[in-house]
Structures are given as C-alpha cells and as structure tokens.
C-alpha cells in the first residue's frame, strides 16, 4: 500500500528501516524486518548505505514483499545515471514495490570504495521529477511508457541543518518536483524539530520524524561529532552512560518513545532507524502511543 493512502486516511504513519548486509544472503535482513513488521506500516531498505557496497536494496525489497512486508525502496543518485535510475524505478514497480525514497546519497569518499566514480547524473530534485514523469507515463526525454508505474514518492530533509534556510528552499523544490512525503535525518531535540516544523509544516506535505535509537553513550557522542545537523543532548548521553549494558535496549526504546511522544503532534509520522536493533521497534511504537 502506498504511504500516501495512509496519510490521506489521517493515519500517523510508522516506518522502520533495515540495511542489507555485505554479502549474498538476505536471511538476516529479512529476519530483522520481520522483527519490526507488526509495529510498522512499511520498512525502508537502504541503498548501499554510507557508500559501503552491499546487497542491493531492490532485491531485498522484493524479498520483503514476498514475506508480506511493505518495503520502501531507497534509491540514491550516487551510483546510477538517469537510465539506470529510471529503469530501477520501473523495475521496482514491476516487482510490486509501491513506495520509494529518493535521495542524493552519501559520497563514496566516505565509504568502502573511495576510488569509485561519482555518478550524480541527476540530483535528488531531478530524480523526483523523473519519477513523477514515469508515474505520468513518460521518461525524462518525454518518450511514452508502455505501462506507467504508480509509485509513492518520498524524499529526505535535515531539520537540524545549520543551513536550514537552504534546506527549506530545497525541500520546497522537492515538493514542486513531486515529493509526497518526507522522512527526516535523525532528530534528538524536540525544540529543534518544532522550529523546523513551524516552517516545513506550512508546505502541507506529510513529514515523518526520523528517530535513531541510541545504542550507547559512545554512539551518541559519535553522532553529534560526525553527523551533520545531529546533536544528542547531554542528558540523553548521560542516561545512556549510566545504563548497564544489559538494559541498554530497554532504555534506548524508552528514550526514543519519549521523544516521539514529544514531537508526534507536530508531524504526520515517524521513521525509526534502529541500525540493527530491529527487535526494539515494537517496544518503541507501543510506548510512543501513536496507534
């Protein structure tokens, strides 16, 4: 089912996220998606996340679909030119995938093949426009398609960016190009997200707040130091630091749910990115009081 249909019904939409492994077996990633499936409307499958070469997103989306789990196919501009991007969107539609998330992609310099050629033939705005064109029955060069896909088009935005004005300008461009919903970069500060939504809410396109549950104090500090626009408040870092290893998942879920409860009135959904702690997703959703 397309996420747009859920938004139209007034649902508070919940998505999870899994990352394909570096290898040819999808067993574990499917198990991870299954662990969260009962609590979410759909599961994002990342596309060679962090520019690390892995099992493909589309293959895993197809396998999830076979398991009865609704996937969100993440597609980045980093590794494919406009022919491959459009072709993969058609392939996704042919495999029954209804939701896609279209992004620029992390630069390969940051990944495990730093000498790879950067493609970026299209940027995320142009990719959205291309996908909308496919939905309308034509490709980027205006050639007719024999059968049009009917994809729900998602995009991303970074609410904590220190260049927020530029982020908002681009967000508007993404909406004009065809974005039907947004999933955000990880949010830890409710007030930062509130300030963002004061502006972004006016665009009238559903926004799903991005939540990355903390696994440890070390990870929290790493996120603050290395992820653009992300700042984990001291009290959260301290709470994780005080938590015994055995209790971390439980406390992490509690903290994530607290945050969701604080911001859920500001937005239309939540996107949970558990980074492998897939089994805590149902706990977070249950404690978030969004259902």
């Amino acid at each position: 089912m397309k996420l747009t249909e859920l938004f139209q019904q007034g649902a508070f939409v919940v998505t999870g996220e899994v990352g394909p492994p570096k290898g040819a077996s999808a067993e574990e990633v499917i198990a991870g998606a299954k662990a969260m499936a009962s609590a979410v409307d759909a599961v994002n499958v990342t596309d060679n996340q962090s520019a690390v070469m892995r099992l493909g997103s589309l293959a895993v989306c197809h396998l999830l679909k076979e398991e009865g789990i609704e996937p969100v196919f993440q597609l980045t501009c980093r590794d494919r030119n406009r022919i491959a991007l459009q072709s993969d969107l058609l392939s996704a539609a042919a495999l029954g995938v209804s939701n896609v998330l279209l992004l620029t992609g992390d630069h390969m310099v940051l990944g495990d093949h730093p000498e790879a050629k950067a493609v970026f033939d299209l940027d995320s705005v142009q990719l959205l426009a291309a996908a909308r064109g496919l939905n309308e029955g034509h490709d980027l060069e205006d050639h007719d398609l024999e059968a049009s896909p009917d994809l729900c088009l998602g995009a991303v935005v970074n609410p904590g960016s220190d260049d927020l004005e530029a982020q908002l300008l681009k967000m508007e461009k993404k909406i004009d190009a065809g974005a039907q919903f947004f999933q955000t970069q990880a949010v830890y500060e409710a007030d930062v997200f509130a300030r963002f939504m004061e502006r972004a809410g006016r665009f009238g396109v559903p926004v799903m707040v991005g939540i990355v549950p903390l696994k440890s104090a070390r990870m929290a500090r790493y996120m603050t130091a290395n992820v653009a626009g992300v700042h984990v408040p001291d009290h959260m870092v301290e709470r994780m630091a005080k938590t015994k290893k055995a209790d971390r998942k439980k406390v992490s879920a509690e903290m994530a749910a607290e945050l969701v409860r604080q911001v859920k009135g500001l937005c239309q959904g939540v996107h949970l990115m558990p980074l492998g702690w897939d089994d805590i997703v149902p706990d977070i959703v249950a404690q978030s009081e969004v259902r």
Binding site: C77, R78, R82, T104, G105, D106, H107, V109, L110, A118, F120, D121, L122, D123, S124, V125, Q126, A129, A130, L140, V156, V157, N158, S161, D162, D163, E165, A166, Q167, L169, K170, E172, K173, D176, A177, Q185, A228, G229
Partner: protein, 247 residues
Amino acid sequence: MHATIQKPLEQILGYFAQGQKVFVVGCGNCAAKARSGGEPETRDMAARLRAAGVEVTGWAVPPNGGSLCKLSDTKELLNVQHRDEVAAADAFLVLACGQGLHTVIDATDGGDAYPGCDTIFGGETVADDLIVEHCSLCGECITDLTGGLCPITLCAKGLTNGPCGGASDGKCEVNPERDCGWHLIYERLRALGKLDLMRRYVPPRDNSRAVRPRRLVLEGKRATFQFAGKSISAWSGLEPEGAKGTE
C-alpha cells in the same frame, strides 16, 4: 589554465630503455605557472635524467610565456630552433599537460612522446603559489543561477538544485577542511540579493556536451563546438551573421 604536477622520477625513468635518447620539452605558460614544466623545471629534469643515466639530447621550453599546446609554435620550436637535438632523440619527455603532450606528437609527425606530468584540473592562478579549480569544463555553464560560483566544481557531488544534507558549519561532508559549495552559493546569492534564484528548478544537465573528444572549429567570427555528433555555433561579431563584408 591547465594545472599539472610532475610524476615521480622513478616512474619517468621506467619509460626509457637503456640507450634510448630523450629530448625534454616544457611549456612556457600553464606548466610554468604550475612549476611542473617551466624553464627551471625542464632544465632540472634534463639534469636529473642525465644523473640517472638517461642520455638527454637537449631540452626546450616555448619562449616568452608561450604555450606548448599551440602547434605552429611548437613545430617552430622543435623542428627549427632545436632541430639537431630533436633529430638525435628517440623519444620526448613532455613536462606539460596532455594537450601539450599531443601537440608534441603532432609537431613531430608522430614522435614518441611520454608524459612527465599528470594533468590534474583547470584552475585560476590565485597567486604565484596557489592554483584553485573553479570550473569543470562541463560544456554548459549555469553560473548565472549561482552568483558565478560553479556547483559542478564546488560541490563534491556536483548538485545543481541546492545542498545535500551533509554539510556542517558550512563545511562539506567529504572533507571538513573544504567549504560546502552550496553554502558558498547561498551566502553569495544572499549578499547579491538574488536568493530567489535558488528556487529555480535546474533540469538535468546535457551530458552529451561532455562526450569526448570535443572540438572547436573557427571560421571568421563564427565558432562551432562539435560534440557527440552534434554541433552548436556562436557568432561573436558586432554585425549580424552573413552581413556583407563581415569576414
């Protein structure tokens, strides 16, 4: 200008067989500015090769800041001014960009030319000791929309519709030492009072303009850019093209 940097001497020495005679050619323009193939570097390279046991018949650099990539001048330099040293050589070591290297091949009717440099980018000579890349030679300039700053070059991902979400404190996610190109563009457009330009959708680029090899053909005031089996013409005269007596 074309920025170049010398290859390691060990790599250069590996080009030449025992007893092979080499003539070293530099460039008075770009490679001189990049200190990879001006007079001092070309003279020194000849000496370094000799010290390593390579037989060097001579060396030359186009005079008065001349460019090695101008074929007629390079023919004069190699076939007239340095005729005997060139005739005695089996091979050329070129301390210049790839255009200069090919010019030497053309000037010598297929001479055996080797690269002494890597050609790294086209840049602005900001100071005697600094050359910075501001243009990617993409064939389709869109800097009217970006305050004159090229996003293809300044943004690590070459994005044309605004920043990705990876910048922090105005710095790029690829390298925190490097400015985010879109941060620079945003600040410049703001200073120029032209921020509205950032709302403009920039369509996908015509990458066929970058299909190589490209050529520029000049006929009077008409220039024709040929690429990918297509061509684009420009008329640079005051008078309308075709007016009587304009050429």
